[in-house]
């Protein structure tokens, strides 16, 4: 899960229909054409046959903090790491289904507790050293080591116990779970396999956190490896000559010689660089910039990839204020904790206007947490009530609020103690979209007589207020799920979660409905079939819609662009939107003779 531009680490574990069968094998892409080295078992990728050579330039919004997957938590780092590392089983960002990666096949036992993975033959790290089951064992030992503090550790604790890993033979690894896990083999997505030959020593010395990605320190299994890093300017990656994927003609991927990330401080600068042709790809374009770029495209194409997995919402501070708080704070919390108050705000929010004004129509209004980009998990029967100020007023009246005419022709809302309803909404100052949403809601609520102020705040301090000091009234925020599976945002929905935004890290669920949410979420995690999980999750969505802890507003489309010379450009609605198939991207204008 990614909060706005924040770097909260995800629980990224997904279910799969294939799970239902209990057994998975058979690569989605059948056939193993003649690899050039007979000992290597290539993964063959369908798609246009490109030609080798050339360099692709992409802008990155700021410098990645690290290239070490064991400590990386920010989205920029993850974007780069994504093309330098590889996992055992991978979620195809386009189909949203799992496919074999370093493991050519896997098998899940009938009771759902034992996963047996078979490695591909002839795998080599980017420094030419071979990979075997010992590297995989080492990798999971490191991830599970509490002293390493790897963000991945959370994902590997199932039913309160760490997964145990054992080697069956040089190519076969067996994972043992203590409890069935709904997400199945999706668990392995994003878990980079580490080079034991380079990291064993630093690990013994407890220095893993200080390791960077220099070629003598690190080797990966991704399509690219580090070539040059110029602080503050760019990061140059070169092709990994030992990469394990090939196209249908048997050419080893990736096609590109180099992939260059240039560091650009903000969205507008990214747009300018793309417009002037300095960069080849652009993703996460705002709707306004998208229409600027689409107006006179010079040698590039802009694509609206459709609804993504980002949901934006307004939420109120539902934390227990404590007895020491000022009467003003206590009074506000009393309104916010009144479910009818939240329902009234939801009824008054003009979601259509948000889509039109903020996203220029390139988005979808939301009434629940599942965005239209998520095909499988939406609750089809959830109501989508149209905006109604009358309903909002009726709800407020039921909750004991009343209106009084103010001099100047305005009507103000007062609570049952005769105090005027005034509060502030926080937004991230760096996110123009959400500031705009807040301004629209401010005006919507003014029509109910609420006096609302919008307070733009730097994102770090905003997150600090929401999750640490809890000193705020309301906040407009957004979350980008990593995957369509509900477990991707589990920390938001569990009352004990650190990003249970409206009232984080509770020791006991504060309300009955939060307790039920907890139960539903826990149950769906170990439920064995999709139908079973879906049923539980549908109920969870209904509870959210009823209680409105988050007032869902809208979801933007994924807007991306590429130069016309970039081949195999197939943007996905999952992160990384344009680089997920980096190994297949090629440049059409590189002369054939130059290719190898």
């Amino acid at each position: 899960m990614r909060t706005a531009r924040a770097k909260v680490h995800p629980r990224r574990n997904l279910p799969s229909l294939l799970m239902v069968l209990g057994v998975v094998s058979a690569p989605l892409f059948a056939g193993h054409p003649q690899p050039k080295n007979p000992k290597e078992e290539f993964l063959v990728m369908p798609g246009e046959i490109g030609h080798s050579g050339g360099r692709l330039v992409v802008s990155l919004r700021g410098e990645p903090k690290t290239l070490n997957p064991l400590i990386a938590a920010d989205s920029r780092s993850r974007e780069v790491i994504g093309v330098m590392q590889a996992d055992l089983v991978h979620i195809n960002r386009a189909t949203q289904l799992t496919e074999p990666a370093l493991a050519k096949s896997w098998r899940i036992s009938a009771n759902g507790l034992t996963y047996t993975l078979t490695l591909r033959q002839g795998l080599k790290f980017s420094d030419g050293q071979p990979l075997d089951a010992d590297d995989v064992l080492f990798t999971f030992r490191v991830y599970l080591d509490e002293n390493v503090h790897a963000p991945q550790r959370d994902l590997l604790i199932v039913g309160g116990k760490p997964i145990s890993v054992r080697k069956a033979d040089a190519q076969t690894i067996v994972f043992q779970l203590s409890k069935p896990y709904g997400v199945g083999e999706r668990l392995f997505d994003g878990l980079a396999i580490l080079p034991r030959h380079l990291l064993e020593k630093p690990y013994q010395e407890g220095k893993l956190g200080q390791i960077g990605a220099a070629p003598n320190q690190w080797a990966g299994l991704g399509p690219f490896r580090l070539k040059e890093y110029v602080a503050g300017q760019r990061l140059v990656l070169e092709r990994n000559p030992y990469y394990w994927k090939a196209d249908t003609k048997g050419n080893r991927l990736p096609y590109l010689d180099e992939l260059i990330f240039v560091f650009v401080p903000n969205a507008d600068a990214q747009v300018l660089k793309f417009q002037s042709g300095e960069t080849d790809l652009i993703s996460q374009v705002g709707a306004e910039n998208f229409s600027v770029l689409s107006r006179q495209p010079r040698g590039y194409t802009m694509v609206d990839a459709g609804p993504g997995l980002e949901y934006n919402f307004l939420f109120f501070n539902l934390n227990d204020a404590g007895e020491k708080s000022s009467p003003e704070v206590l009074r506000k919390r009393k309104w916010f904790r009144e479910v009818k108050f939240r329902q009234a705000v939801s009824a008054a929010a003009d979601r259509e206007a948000i889509v039109r004004l903020v996203y220029q129509g390139r988005g979808t209004p939301l009434w629940g947490l599942v965005t239209p980009g998520n095909k499988r998990w939406g609750n089809a029967v959830m109501p989508h009530p149209a905006r109604s100020l009358d309903r909002a007023r009726a709800l407020l009246r039921e909750a004991g609020f009343s209106w009084r005419d103010e001099p100047g022709g305005e009507t103000a809302l007062f609570d049952s103690d005769g105090k005027p309803v005034e509060f502030s909404i926080l937004t991230s100052s760096s996110n123009a979209d959400r500031s705009k949403m807040a301004a629209l809601i401010q005006d919507d609520l003014k029509q109910l007589g609420m006096r609302v102020q919008v307070v733009p705040l730097e994102f770090r301090s905003l997150l600090d207020r929401v999750t640490q000091t809890k000193d705020y009234d309301a906040c407009v925020m957004g979350i980008v799920s990593f995957d369509a599976d509900p477990n991707s945002d589990i920390n938001v929905w569990l009352s004990s979660g650190g990003t249970h935004l409206w009232n984080p890290s509770q020791t006991h669920p504060a309300t009955a409905w939060e307790a039920e949410m907890d139960r539903l979420i826990e149950e769906q995690m170990s439920a064995r079939t999709f139908t079973e999980r879906k049923k539980l999750y549908d109920r969870a969505q209904e509870i959210l819609a009823e209680n409105q802890p988050l007032i869902f507003l809208a979801s933007p489309d994924i807007l991306v662009g590429a130069k016309n010379t970039v081949g195999n450009f197939h943007p996905a609605v999952l992160e990384p939107y344009v680089l997920w198939n980096a190994e297949q991207l090629y440049l059409k204008n590189v002369p054939e003779s130059a290719s190898r």
Binding site: V271, E288, N289, S291, V292, G408, G409, S429, L440, D443
Partner: protein, 350 residues
């Protein structure tokens, strides 16, 4: 001659400020009112001649319609002219902040007429410009008044008494000159509660402007006082036994009048700019209250910059205000100088 120029500048400024002070009357709409169906509408030009060449005495505008087969380009819909109505009743406002009223100079019949176009929320830019001027100019006025008051106080005390007091006050003033006031404001804002009401934010701005702005005029006034207290008539008065207070109030301070007026004419636009800078950075009065800085902060976004040229118009319209103040300042200075020369030559005769 200078007097006539001075009067001319004064009339120009009075006219401009009249527009802003009576913003409620001159602007057709409430500046915070959103029209979500008409966002980023280009300005509507006032027409007197229709496409057939007929002259109309009642000005009219054309509504905007989307050009066929374009997503966001607009053209004037000449088939449906919208005549301007004068002295219409519309949004409630308070004239001069006191008298409730509904009368507006002009307005449309049922469609809104936006002479400067609309912004991202469909708010009328013309109304926002006039109302925004109220905040920005008032900040300039009050800021200048506060700094001049403080400056005169400190400057005259320092200049008149001299010695240790002078040294101490002037070093103190230098300290204030050296203060990075923008960061000071950032720091100050961090101590305040999260949501600051527009009124509080406004007085905060003025407070900050006053607190950091007094040093320069203070030094200037000290100089004038320093030379004034050595004048023959001041010495004479002292010889007759006048008290310090009497001398300061009746003989020394009147000498600073010219400088203070000139300084005021220079400081007001400077502080208007200061307010604009703060609002531009989001430290000024919070939206949706308009101020000139808030209006300009729309231009921070690249897409607005290249797509909606009329968002620059408020900046253009601010130019006459600043020009007016500069003209006033220079003719005031000229007047002070001639006055000084006259005084000096007169002094020689007596």
């Amino acid at each position: 001659m200078t007097r006539r120029v001075l009067t001319r500048w004064l009339i120009v400024l009075l006219g401009l400020h009249g527009l802003v002070v009576c913003a409620g009357f001159f602007s057709p709409y409430n500046p915070a009112e959103q029209d979500r169906n008409h966002v980023y509408l280009p300005p509507q030009l006032l027409h007197l001649v229709d496409p057939t060449g007929h002259l109309h005495f009642r000005p009219f505008v054309y509504p905007w319609k989307l050009r066929p087969d374009t997503p966001d380009l607009r053209e004037e819909d000449t088939a449906h002219p919208l005549p301007l109505r004068f002295f219409v009743n519309g949004a409630h406002y308070r004239l001069l902040g006191v008298f409730p009223a509904r009368l507006h100079l002009f307005g449309g019949e049922d469609t809104r007429i936006c002479l400067l176009g609309t912004d991202a929320y469909g708010r009328d830019q013309f109304s926002r410009f006039l109302y925004g001027g109220q905040i920005s100019l008032l900040a300039g006025f009050l800021g200048a008044a506060l700094t001049l008051l403080l400056g005169t106080l400190v400057g005259s005390v320092a200049g008149y008494f001299g010695g240790l007091i002078d040294d101490a006050l002037m070093r103190f003033a230098e300290l204030f000159l050296a203060l990075p006031w923008l960061y000071l404001l950032f720091a100050l804002r961090a101590f305040l509660p999260l949501a600051v009401s527009p009124l509080k934010a406004f007085f905060l701005i003025i407070g900050v402007i006053g607190a950091v702005g007094w040093a320069r005029p203070g030094r200037l006034i000290r100089g004038v006082v320093l030379s004034a207290k050595e004048r023959d008539f001041v010495r004479a008065a002292r010889g007759f036994g006048a008290t310090d207070r009497y001398l300061l109030w009746n003989h020394v301070l009147p000498e600073t009048r010219g400088v203070i007026l000139t300084q005021a004419a220079i400081l007001i636009p400077q502080f208007v700019l200061a307010e604009m800078t703060l609002s531009f950075l989001g430290l000024g009065v919070p939206e949706p209250v308009p101020s000139w800085g808030n209006l300009l902060s729309n231009l921070q976004q690249y897409s607005v910059l290249v797509s909606y040229w009329w968002m620059y118009l408020p900046a253009l319209l601010m130019v006459p205000f600043f020009l007016g103040y500069l003209g006033l300042a220079s003719s005031l200075q000229e007047r002070t100088e001639t006055y000084m020369i006259e005084r000096r030559s007169l002094g020689g005769v007596t």
